[in-house]
């Protein structure tokens, strides 16, 4: 195991326990008198921390895989259209009255992600070409976005509309162990599939033709990527809404700590994604904000968008 992996594991070992203490009610571990401390930690903070770890790990590794696949440090898991597909599924569940069942929203989102994955596999063609595949993903994202806007504009009540818009901003507040049990196995499976693609992603470093000459089968790789990114991103949107930029920022920060092969980036990016999301979520909890806490999706966009611009400027100077 390399040094980056150890450093990240160590950082997680420190940050996870601290995150359980931070929040609107600060818990002093040395003062057993804190009111409802056990309930707060077990029922609120632990599932929330676990969910941050699961969602962050999924988004981080999906981002690393996408950047490897598209050979571009600016690629993001959102490019495949799976996140907008999942969000469309979730929005439709609001529209249908998600209060009917707590499972309806995540399951609808997963169905939406599955639909986007199926459509992507259908359109992407038989030769496994990357350019057509990316375009197909962008079109699916665009279509899902348009349908989502339509569903919001036709929402039955203003209350439903506000619920939808707030949910889309992405957050880990008010989540329970149920969401963890939904997201964890799917994300674990997704990361596993992306790890299986690692060798082929390494070969792609040399371009499509050279990768094929090294034994990469483009369609098999594409299938692994669609399933891996679909499961990780779909599960993330299903339990937390849309959280952008993790998949973009994390691999970029981790790359200099590795030998820069896409495969050696996957696991460290999962750990760093988990760490970033956990820390960002803690920040959202403790920031004093009138009218509730800062939404995690907004916080990450506020960090991520300037980071993206910084990357673009650096690339323009040929330094990235």
């Amino acid at each position: 195991m390399n040094r980056a992996l150890w450093a990240l594991l160590l950082a997680l070992a420190v940050v996870v326990p601290l995150s359980l203490l931070a929040g609107r009610v600060w818990i002093d571990p040395f003062d057993p008198q804190t009111r409802n401390a056990l309930v707060i930690v077990l029922e609120l903070r632990m599932p929330r921390a676990a969910l941050a770890l699961v969602v962050g790990a999924g988004l981080g590794s999906a981002g690393a895989a996408m950047q490897g696949y598209l050979r571009n440090p600016l690629a993001d898991p959102g490019l495949f259209g799976i996140a907008p597909g999942a969000a469309l599924g979730a929005v439709l569940s609001f529209w249908a009255g998600y209060a009917a069942s707590a499972w309806l929203l995540p399951i609808s989102a997963l169905l939406g992600a599955g639909g986007a994955m199926a459509l992507l596999a259908l359109i992407a063609g038989r030769d496994g070409g990357i350019a057509l595949f990316t375009l197909a993903g962008l079109m699916i994202a665009s279509l899902a976005g348009a349908l989502m806007s339509l569903a919001i504009s036709l929402s039955p009540t203003p209350f439903a509309m506000s619920e939808i818009v707030t949910w889309l901003m992405g957050a880990l507040a008010d989540r329970s162990w149920r969401e963890v049990w939904i997201a964890a196995p799917l994300t674990g499976l997704g990361i596993g599939l992306l790890m299986l693609a690692g060798r082929s992603l390494d070969a792609l470093t040399l371009g499509e033709a050279a990768a094929r000459s090294l034994g990469v089968e483009p369609r098999k790789l594409q299938a692994l990527l669609v399933a891996g990114v679909g499961l990780t991103v779909g599960a993330s949107v299903a339990v937390a809404g849309i959280i952008g930029f993790v998949g973009l920022i994390v691999p970029h920060l981790i790359r200099p700590l590795t030998d820069r092969r896409p495969s050696s980036l996957l696991l460290p990016s999962a750990l760093a994604g988990a760490l970033l999301l956990l820390m960002a979520d803690c920040l959202c909890r403790i920031l004093p904000l009138a009218g509730g806490e800062l939404r995690l999706g907004i916080a990450l966009s506020l960090i991520g968008a300037p980071f993206f611009l910084h990357l673009l400027i650096k690339m323009r100077r040929g330094l990235a």
């Binding site: 050979r71 571009n72 060798r199 390494d202 070969a203 792609l204 470093t205 040399l206 371009g207 033709a209 050279a210 094929r212 000459s213 090294l214 034994g215 990469v216 089968e217 790359r255 030998d259 820069r260 092969r261 896409p262």
Partner: protein
């Protein structure tokens, strides 16, 4: 010794027309022809990357289309035209990518192959240098070392000397001959006819998808063949091994 590469009535619609040839290892074979002649297409077929619309390419007795991707990759090392390296890898990591088709091979064997490839391309002092900090010649050698690390039976390279200065081109060509002397088959797409004339053992000349000449450089690149295929007036000057091609002003009539 590697198996022969056998082409039988190879057809790729609009690009290659009934090409048949039999390439034996242990020699440097050059594929020459004007722009759009089908040189890169032929090399892609030889590497098993392009499935012909008709005809077959076989490695010994086995058609490439029936070989497993990994097995094909272990036998046929391919260097594309203008190869890219998407991430700023170190030279050693780049060369190690050549071991990808050998899934499950012992780590010691892999390291020995990487070391041998680095030594063969004279990159010992550059192991840890990142690719972005290499000169054009060093980069070309590092990319070739990546192909060698696979230990393929055949080296197939598309314009490997493009963008190299005289010394680096000569040095890389010498290394191709060393590989051929070790029993590997070497097939190069070459734009420069003088290089093919002086340094190839055999030349295939293509024009508009058809095989026009196939033989020793003297036969396949005779002034008559060049006049016919390239439509230019030429004359070979000097002695075998250091010949130069004097080219008259081109006539546009074919």
């Amino acid at each position: 010794m590697a198996g022969d590469l056998v082409l039988e009535h190879l057809v790729v619609t609009d690009r290659l027309d009934a090409i048949s040839s039999h390439l034996a290892p242990g020699a440097v074979t050059a594929i020459c022809g004007p722009n759009g002649a089908g040189k890169s297409t032929l090399l892609s077929c030889l590497a098993g990357l392009l499935t012909p619309d008709a005809g077959t390419v076989g490695l010994g007795e086995i058609p490439l289309s029936q070989m497993a991707a990994d097995a094909r990759a272990r036998s046929l090392g391919y260097l594309p035209q203008a190869p890219e390296v998407a991430w700023d890898l170190s030279v050693e990591t780049l060369v190690s990518l050549g071991r990808l088709p050998w899934r499950g091979a012992p780590a010691q064997e892999a390291q020995a192959a990487i070391d041998a490839a680095i030594a063969a391309m004279d990159l010992g002092g550059l192991r840890t240098r990142s690719v972005s900090r290499l000169s054009g010649g060093e980069r070309a050698r590092a990319l070739m070392a990546r192909v060698l690390a696979t230990k393929p039976d055949w080296l197939l390279a598309d314009e490997p000397l493009a963008n190299l200065d005289l010394a680096h081109a000569a040095s890389l060509m010498r290394r191709f001959h060393e590989q051929a002397a070790e029993g590997r088959g070497v097939v190069l797409v070459l734009h420069d006819l003088a290089t093919a004339m002086n340094h190839a053992d055999r030349v295939l000349v293509l024009n508009r998808g058809r095989l026009i000449a196939d033989g020793t450089p003297d036969e396949a690149l005779s002034e008559a063949v060049i006049r016919k295929v390239w439509s230019v007036d030429v004359q070979w000057l000097g002695e075998r091994g250091t010949r130069a091609l004097a080219v008259g002003l081109a006539s546009d009539e074919k």
